[in-house]
């Protein structure tokens, strides 16, 4: 019993304290999640130590992995929980990259500019949400894409920001390349871990339960007092902050910013791909999806068009055979690494 109480996260609003009703307890963790804590910490420690073990091209690849992971996780919460199928998250990816560029041009250290850029994207997302939230379903998807294109067109009109051809990111001359590579890697890792923890804690909270209800049936959710619009707006802002941070890291890792790249719709395709093959509406899905996507990319990139054909084929096969993605297959065996649910435990079966 004490073990169960200590397992409860401090950030959790629903305590494990015995209820007034017949000594029933509410448990939030699962067997597989308790078993996974130690390995997860080891993986995190190894990832943090990686720059000391491998050459810089490995860490550069991993930076791209983390960027995609952050985009996948935020898109999953957007589309998988809030029902906001955005095809325009690259708007915030680009805005994040250009914010870091602009702040660096004003003399700020690009790494220090990262959090500022992320918050800026969250602020920009507020007026954008007023606009795109008037649209539903497919119109929302196209609307968000159009917003991203507008962002790109507005940006390339500024010659100071490099116009259409892009420009180099200043302010990094003080770092030697190895240190810069390691710092960029750690920044990307930190953003990925924060995104994962943030999504996890949010989905475990009241807002998360309300969002899960919205995911299953938004009309019925409203009928039990959920205000879907409010919950969706929160998710949209958080996803913009995540995409903005990812864009900032992208700028620093590439050392230059170019509109076609950072505002490119291919980012939306990558996000959707990793979430769909991993498992939409689960926290674990985008992680699995990003790993699979990266393995495909790394092993097949030299085969040109075959790589795209195979990636497309995988997506089609998953959509047909496992709509809940690869993680949907794992969940059939009762595996949950990030349990966001609740389990009622009666006193007599508290050992289970």
């Amino acid at each position: 019993m004490t073990e169960m109480a200590t397992r409860e996260g401090a950030a959790d609003e629903s305590p494990a304290a015995p209820s007034q009703v017949s000594g029933v307890r509410i448990r939030r963790s699962t067997r597989s999640s308790r078993l996974a804590i130690a390995p997860a910490l080891i993986v995190l420690a190894v990832l943090a130590y990686l720059p000391f073990l491998f050459a810089q091209d490995t860490t550069n690849t991993m930076v791209n992995f983390f960027i995609l992971l952050v985009l996948g996780m935020t898109w999953n919460v957007l589309a998988g929980y809030a029902g906001l199928v955005s095809v325009g998250q690259q708007a915030f990816l680009g805005a994040g990259a250009y914010s870091v560029l602009w702040l660096a041009q004003q003399g700020m250290d690009p790494l220090a500019a990262l959090p500022v850029a992320a918050v800026f994207c969250g602020v920009v997302a507020i007026p954008v949400s007023w606009l795109v939230f008037r649209l539903r379903g497919g119109y929302f998807a196209i609307g968000t894409w159009a917003v991203a294109e507008v962002f790109a067109l507005v940006t390339i009109r500024s010659s100071a920001l490099g116009g259409g051809t892009g420009t180099n990111l200043p302010g990094l001359d003080g770092y030697d390349p190895v240190t810069l590579g390691a710092l960029t890697y750690w920044a990307a890792l930190a953003i990925a871990v924060l995104t994962l923890l943030g999504s996890y804690l949010m989905l475990r909270s009241r807002v998360g339960l309300a969002l899960t209800a919205v995911r299953d049936d938004d009309h019925a959710a409203e009928g039990v007092g959920v205000r879907p619009a409010g919950a969706k707006r929160v998710v949209y802002l958080l996803a913009a902050i995540g995409a903005g941070a990812a864009g900032g890291v992208l700028a620093i890792s590439q050392l230059n910013v170019q509109a076609d790249n950072v505002y490119g719709v291919q980012w939306a395709a990558y996000m959707i791909f990793v979430v769909l093959i991993g498992g939409i509406g689960t926290l674990e899905g985008p992680i699995i999806g990003t790993i699979v996507f990266f393995i495909l990319q790394q092993t097949l990139a030299s085969h040109g068009a075959w790589y795209l054909i195979l990636v497309g084929l995988v997506a089609v096969v998953m959509a047909l055979w496992s709509p809940r993605g690869l993680w949907g297959i794992a969940e059939r065996f009762g595996v949950h690494l990030f349990p966001v649910g609740y389990r009622v435990v009666h006193p007599e079966e508290s050992q289970s």
């Binding site: 629903s14 009703v21 509410i26 309300a210 299953d216 049936d217 019925a220 039990v224 205000r227």
Partner: protein, 252 residues
């Protein structure tokens, strides 16, 4: 007749194109009573619930709860002020367990925090006979349990007025009795109940008063036995009259 009116409909009208679902409808629901609503398909019963719960906007007229107009409030606001409906076809949050389904209602509709929400959830699950299914993912429930869950979720919101839309439909007789006893218990706790039902037996055994609707208008209102004895109501239920033949069917 001096009892306070909890809900009041004042000349409520609503039409979808040429189909009239409410035609100057006026009646009241008294604090603490159970009022049954009967009528043929297309009489506007479910649409009426939609207008009271906020899913549908009224064209003209007013709906008041304890004298305060509801018509401009969102569904979520109405739930928080105590007007909660169940759905004719249960709409569980299929990926969530029974406990989670009810908990979200206790937290959002009931406005309860932390352990208070958990306690309310456990009480309601007990009251509706779902205790043994608490950890079952609701998408796997059978019809009776889904109907129970509809009621449980509504109760967790702490309703003053509970709108039941055919909770007994599609169930066997013993199952109907189970739900009737749940509804009686809820009403005994002081919750006012407005109940649409085609299973007239269940309704008559429970309600204090009955309202009969047809084509968006009030046909009869009064004690259940009196209402069902009226010739115009009999005509509707025996299905012989022109009123039934003209009634548009299959409306939400």
């Amino acid at each position: 007749m001096t009892t306070e009116r909890l809900l009041e409909l004042d000349a409520v009208s609503k039409r979808f194109g040429r189909v009239v679902v409410a035609d100057g409808l006026s009646f009241g629901v008294r604090q603490g009573e159970t009022l049954g609503i009967v009528g043929p398909n297309g009489a506007g019963k479910t649409s009426l619930f939609g207008m009271i719960s906020g899913d549908l906007r009224v064209d003209t007229g007013d709906i008041r709860l304890s004298g305060t107009s509801l018509t401009s409030l969102s569904t979520a606001r109405r739930v928080r002020s105590g007007v909660v409906r169940t759905h004719q076809v249960p709409r569980p949050f299929t990926g969530m367990t029974v406990f989670e389904n009810v908990l979200v209602a206790a937290q959002q509709g009931g406005g309860l925090r932390a352990s208070h929400a958990v306690d309310r959830t456990l009480e309601v699950i007990e009251e509706t006979g779902l205790a043994e299914h608490a950890n079952v993912v609701s998408g796997r429930l059978g019809l009776l349990s889904r109907k129970r869950l509809e009621v449980a979720r509504a109760l967790a919101c702490g309703p003053r007025l509970l709108l039941l839309d055919e909770v007994a439909g599609g169930l066997t007789d013993p199952e109907v009795d189970t739900l009737v006893s749940i509804v009686r218990g809820v009403n005994a706790r002081g919750v006012t109940v407005l109940w649409i039902e085609h299973v007239v037996r269940a309704l008559v055994s429970t309600v204090d008063r009955l309202v009969c609707l047809a084509l968006g208008s009030l046909v009869a209102e009064g004690k259940p036995s009196e209402v069902l004895a009226r010739p115009e109501v009999k005509q509707i239920f025996l299905g012989t009259g022109a009123a039934v033949d003209e009634a548009p069917g299959g409306l939400p």
